[in-house]
Symmetry: C3
Subunit: 337 residues, 3 copies
Amino acid sequence: MRLQEIAERIGASLRGDGSTEFTGVAAFSTATSRDLVFLEDPKYVQDAVRSSAGAFVVGNFDSAILDALAAKGSLIVSTNPRLAFARAAEILRRSERPSGTIHSTAVVHASAQVGGDVSIGAGAFIGPGVVLGDRSHVGPGCALLSDVIVGEETSLIARVTVYPGTKIGNRCLVHAGAVLGGDGFGFVRDPETGSYEKFPQIGSLIIGDDVEIGANTTIDRGALEATIIGNGVKIDNLVQIAHNVEIGENVVIASQTGISGSSVIERNCIVAGQVGIADHVRIEEGAILGAQCGVPTKKVIRGKGVVFWGTPARPITEYLRELAAMAKLARRKKSGV
Amino acid sequence: MRLQEIAERIGASLRGDGSTEFTGVAAFSTATSRDLVFLEDPKYVQDAVRSSAGAFVVGNFDSAILDALAAKGSLIVSTNPRLAFARAAEILRRSERPSGTIHSTAVVHASAQVGGDVSIGAGAFIGPGVVLGDRSHVGPGCALLSDVIVGEETSLIARVTVYPGTKIGNRCLVHAGAVLGGDGFGFVRDPETGSYEKFPQIGSLIIGDDVEIGANTTIDRGALEATIIGNGVKIDNLVQIAHNVEIGENVVIASQTGISGSSVIERNCIVAGQVGIADHVRIEEGAILGAQCGVPTKKVIRGKGVVFWGTPARPITEYLRELAAMAKLARRKKSGV
Amino acid sequence: MRLQEIAERIGASLRGDGSTEFTGVAAFSTATSRDLVFLEDPKYVQDAVRSSAGAFVVGNFDSAILDALAAKGSLIVSTNPRLAFARAAEILRRSERPSGTIHSTAVVHASAQVGGDVSIGAGAFIGPGVVLGDRSHVGPGCALLSDVIVGEETSLIARVTVYPGTKIGNRCLVHAGAVLGGDGFGFVRDPETGSYEKFPQIGSLIIGDDVEIGANTTIDRGALEATIIGNGVKIDNLVQIAHNVEIGENVVIASQTGISGSSVIERNCIVAGQVGIADHVRIEEGAILGAQCGVPTKKVIRGKGVVFWGTPARPITEYLRELAAMAKLARRKKSGV
């Protein structure tokens, strides 16, 4: 894609030759003349100048810096060069034509509907009634059980398992080993024998558009109703999301966090790593949960932009005050006061 | 299956026509005339009445409520409608005849013993000496290395890996991505070089009957002896169980919990999510470990029905008292008292 | 392998017949005459004597004990019998000739380079440009995407996914379900729409020699540069290692630990289970992080051999003092003092 077009599509200004074709983005050390690199902090300008990159995505730096870079390649200038670079990378990535190849060892059920330019990797299994949207990609070793719907341009990298009836939106990216739509963890105890009977887990899992799901993450279907993942949600590796959970738009969930049954995380929340959220919790819009914190059953967390920490989770200022008081108390005891 | 037979098998009373055939269970909104639904709380009776379900599993409600429902379909009346519904669902599920199909792309070693009505999915690998019990199911992409034994009616959904010599009991359900019988984490440090030598992990993993194992959960074999999972144990997603652990009957373990080497969890314990149990711990019969709590090395936890919380885990009343004292102290410091 | 040779290779002394061939190691209860067993604590000498093992790896015990054992089989005597036993097991394991078989259902791209005596399991996918070192093993269902390099004698047990360009060293052992080189979790928020744009994750993952990686563990590639795992690192199951992390030689990381982006763990550190390490942290050489502890962003942890605990992680003596002070305070409040 020509640099001119990239600059236009990301809404940034171009300085220098816009007619050159670019194919990707890179780090300073690995870039070729067909790659864009980005410079967020002017103190690394020498690294940028030394690179072989064909163009630089930069901030509104001093003209001396911009001139030095312009002598080496074209510039895309933006007030938010990190965002501009990310957009450019995404545009270039999506401009790659999908292979549109179905590997000879893939198993595609006769009743599956395969869209245009779909690629399916070696040994992938596409079960009965599955629908694959145009330009979607199902990598090697994936298993899509019956009646799964995969949206357009969605990519399942490799060895992803999708349980029956799960619906995945458009432009999603699902990493290797993720398990989508598995049974929730629900049992009824027999008071006489003490053994557990499985409660039916026959609901569904509905995933919106532009969702990214990390490697080996597990998201369960609803028990009777649905588990819902909103548009633009980003989920890291090894995250657990239980049955009937509802995640709002643009929520970010870091690695190894667990969310128990029927909890709701409203839009724009940020959940750090190893957070534990019990069942029937509500995290209201825009709250931020600090790493390893724990939210007890049925709790409501409220506060746009407020950071919560500790178990049970409380506003971080409160938690830090408690930690300080505890440390002071321990020191006093030690010195015998 | 006819409703009459379902009611008899779950030991509940029938009201209305018992001759109709039923095929499954459902939510109010998705039920058809061949589905059972359940009503635990009479306040949702209008939702039940509006559903298209053919029969209702209900509690001993007021006769007005029962009459309203009976006008819409047959009733299965039970003092514990949740348990009755779960049992009915399980009976219906098990009444489905297994496909008994071995997919043409599955690889079954010549020395494997495959029972009657076994189904094996696309691309599954059944290694040398593996024994698959009658009516067992090995889903697409599973890899059963050598000498694995799978009991009758046990189902491995998809992409499950089972290491050599692992024994899985009858009627188990193993979800996608689980890894059973992998090497434990044991090393011996060389005091001269500082490097680690692998300690042999050549024991076994023995899983009882009626065990459910969640997606992407990992259970290691013993180092020299066995790791043992008792009958009726229910394990959620992303749980880690280390070498030589012993789990008693009807223990429930929620997501992301980790249990270190040689620990014992006696029967009927409940372990919440993200709990950490160090090595050589004993959790005595019927204790309850609250979410995110941590049990240190060699500790014995005792107390049937007692909830433990915090790290190091202590009775929850004690822990809550400490939290309250800490919060009060912090407030006092803040106000300068 | 003859016992004489085993003793020589592990640098231990032999007592008795060294000409017998041995094939493996075992527990007392399962050993045959071709197996080594080990006795670390003389109190179990009767168990050892009762076993059918052909030889015993023992400490410098009293001569009465050694005589009793010598009457039953040959002895390998070492000041560190556990290390000697581990080494013997490893030597015997490596002496097994690899099968050198490529299963007919494996898919090996025409441009892949396959070394001598490489074995590839059923349904494995070896993508374009992949290089497999001599005597390496890729188990059933593994997916090695493009340009992966696997060192000599490295074994990927089953269903391992390796993303493009990842480099794995020699003599590594990667357990089932691990995902190596996946995308890091990096996004740039668009301040206008609130949605997240994916930041490019195009760096690499470089894994050294003699590394063991547990089941379902995930290690991400760098964003633009590399994630680096040093020689001799041992990683347990379900661990998460984020983009741009650097792990030094002989670091041990227990199950369910998570390490966030750009953090550094210097050599010889020990990280227990369920530890959370935030981004841009440095754990200096030889520090020990206790189970479930949490290290906040940009923190430096220093102290060879010092154990840290709690969140935020502090020296364990300090943390225990705080816990004691808190408990005492709570008791005092309760008794109304």
